[in-house]
């Protein structure tokens, strides 16, 4: 569960990037976060990953209070979250299998479990035939599916996808969001940041619209684009 209460984030003195927002995302939810460039979406993601700290308010993620979380506890906290980035962030010197397996090596998982689990998630994203390929040998869509498999491999409670369709064509975008929806159906909470309103309208669900550091819309949409009217 994600719960932000009256949260503000200030990078520079007096300059709030996030201004007293309240957001609650229940376990098992699928939430789109939209907003224009500079609206505060990236800062919100960094906040959820404890890459930046809130200057005010309380931040609870997966049962961890991020305002009081000590630095040495951050790795353990992050193991409860899977992250997918727009630029994939795959390690070019590792194969598809190694890119995914290394997440489990980080947490010292047994070798037999790594083999079993990695094979399972590779199958889930449909890349069984690419296990020995390197990222440079894959298309943008395939790379993003590897990134998705990597985010899923340690069975996270929360999956954060930061513009996951930003570097792929529209057809693949639908495929990727479809995969995220499927993952959500299995019980994983998914937060997807995007600026592609077409995708949001197509898939529907809960949507949070952020503008100038504040939440200007937070509701369920079902194919309509009424939320856009409130976007500045």
């Amino acid at each position: 569960m994600v719960e932000l209460k009256n949260v503000s984030v200030a990078y520079n003195k007096g300059q709030n990037v996030i201004k007293g927002i309240d957001i609650k995302i229940e376990d098992g939810d699928f939430t789109f976060i939209v907003g224009a460039s500079g609206a505060g979406k990236s800062t919100l993601i960094k906040l959820l990953l404890k890459e930046v700290d809130a200057s005010d308010g309380s931040v609870m993620v997966n049962g961890y209070n991020l305002r009081t979380l000590k630095r040495n506890r951050i790795p353990k906290f992050r193991r409860t979250i899977g992250v997918v980035f727009q630029d994939f962030r795959l390690i070019p010197t590792m194969t598809v299998y190694e890119n995914i397996a290394f997440v489990l090596r980080v947490i010292n998982a047994p070798r037999s479990y790594i083999k079993k689990r990695v094979s399972y998630v590779i199958g889930l994203v449909g890349l069984q035939n690419k296990t020995k390929s390197y990222p440079t040998e894959l298309s943008g869509g395939e790379q993003q599916r590897v990134a998705l498999a990597r985010a899923l491999v340690n069975d996270p409670k929360l999956l954060i996808a930061d513009e996951p369709t930003g570097n792929v064509d529209p057809e693949l975008s639908h495929e990727i969001v479809g995969l995220l929806k499927a993952i959500n159906q299995c019980g994983t909470t998914v937060v997807m940041v995007t600026h592609e309103h077409e995708l949001v309208k197509h898939f529907g669900g809960r949507l949070i619209n952020i503008n100038q550091g504040t939440v200007i819309y937070d509701d369920i949409i079902d194919g309509d684009d009424s939320y856009m009217e409130e976007d500045v």
Partner: protein, 279 residues
């Protein structure tokens, strides 16, 4: 870390090592020159027989005395005549009326205390006069002090430069792997988990550099000493002991190279990684 870092570390170790060996040899040279300078204490004419033995004991009882050797007047005359080659007959008649005094050739432990020691010798009843290279000893001591200070300053500077060079080199190496580090942080890797491979890589690079520096130093030093000692008999000309043989210190040099190399390599690598861990 690649070949560039290994080369930089090898060169850095060589700079420190070569300078240390140079400083050690200068120290040996100065100590050798120092030991060649003797004090001569001339006895009064009336000091004879058992009084000479008592005088020797009194001198030995002084704190700063290393060696005391009695030098009888007869021996002094013999040596003098030998030195006057071709004019021996002129001095032969001196054997009947030897004008030279009995003396002690004395070596002291610490030449920086030569003035005090000479003053103590002069105060003895049996002392006629004392001939001591006080000015030379003072200059030599000043020279030794200057060499020591310069050695320490240069050594510290060289080590500092080496660390900076290694740090920059490893930074570049770590920078190329920042994406890997960044991803590790996002998936929940601890700092120690991330640092460990960099630590061992740095350690290994340091050890390889240490071996490289040891081999270069061994062959370089041996070749240089062969040239100096064989071709121009440099050490005989200045009348001091030979330079420090490398065989005597090779294990120490190798150990120091390996230790400094591995420590600098490992620390440089870990420190350079730290910047990318703040995610």
């Amino acid at each position: 870390m690649g070949i560039a870092t290994t080369c930089v570390l090898t060169v850095s170790l060589l700079l420190v090592g070569v300078f240390s060996l140079f400083a050690m040899n200068v120290e040996i040279l100065l100590t050798s020159i120092e030991s060649k300078n003797e004090i001569v204490l001339f006895l009064k004419d009336d000091v004879v027989g058992d009084d000479i033995i008592s005088a020797e004991q009194a001198i030995k009882n002084l704190k700063n005395i290393a060696v005391v050797e009695y030098y009888p007047r007869e021996q002094a005359l013999e040596d003098y005549i030998k030195q006057m080659e071709g004019y021996e007959s002129v001095f032969e008649e001196l054997r009947d009326d030897n004008p030279l005094p009995n003396a002690f050739n004395i070596q002291i432990k610490d030449t920086s205390l030569i003035t005090e020691t000479v003053d103590q010798m002069v105060s003895f009843e049996f002392t006629d006069s004392v001939k001591a290279p006080t000015d030379f000893a003072t200059i030599l001591n000043k020279l030794k002090n200057v060499v020591s200070v310069i050695s320490i300053v240069l050594l510290v500077a060289l080590v500092a430069v080496s660390i900076i060079m290694i740090s920059n080199s490893t930074k570049a190496s770590v920078y190329t792997r920042r994406r890997e580090i960044n991803i590790m942080k996002y998936v929940g890797a601890t700092n120690s988990f991330i640092r460990t491979p960099f630590f061992f890589e740095g350690l290994f690079t340091g050890l390889v550099s240490g071996v490289g520096a040891s081999v270069i130093t061994y062959f370089g030093y041996t070749a240089l000493m062969d040239i100096i000692t064989n071709d121009i008999s440099f050490w005989e000309i200045i009348g001091v002991v030979e330079p420090l043989p490398f065989d005597n210190i090779k294990y120490i040099v190798f150990a120091v190279y390996l230790c400094i190399g591995s420590v600098i390599g490992a620390i440089g690598s870990v420190v350079s990684t730290s910047k990318h861990l703040k995610v």
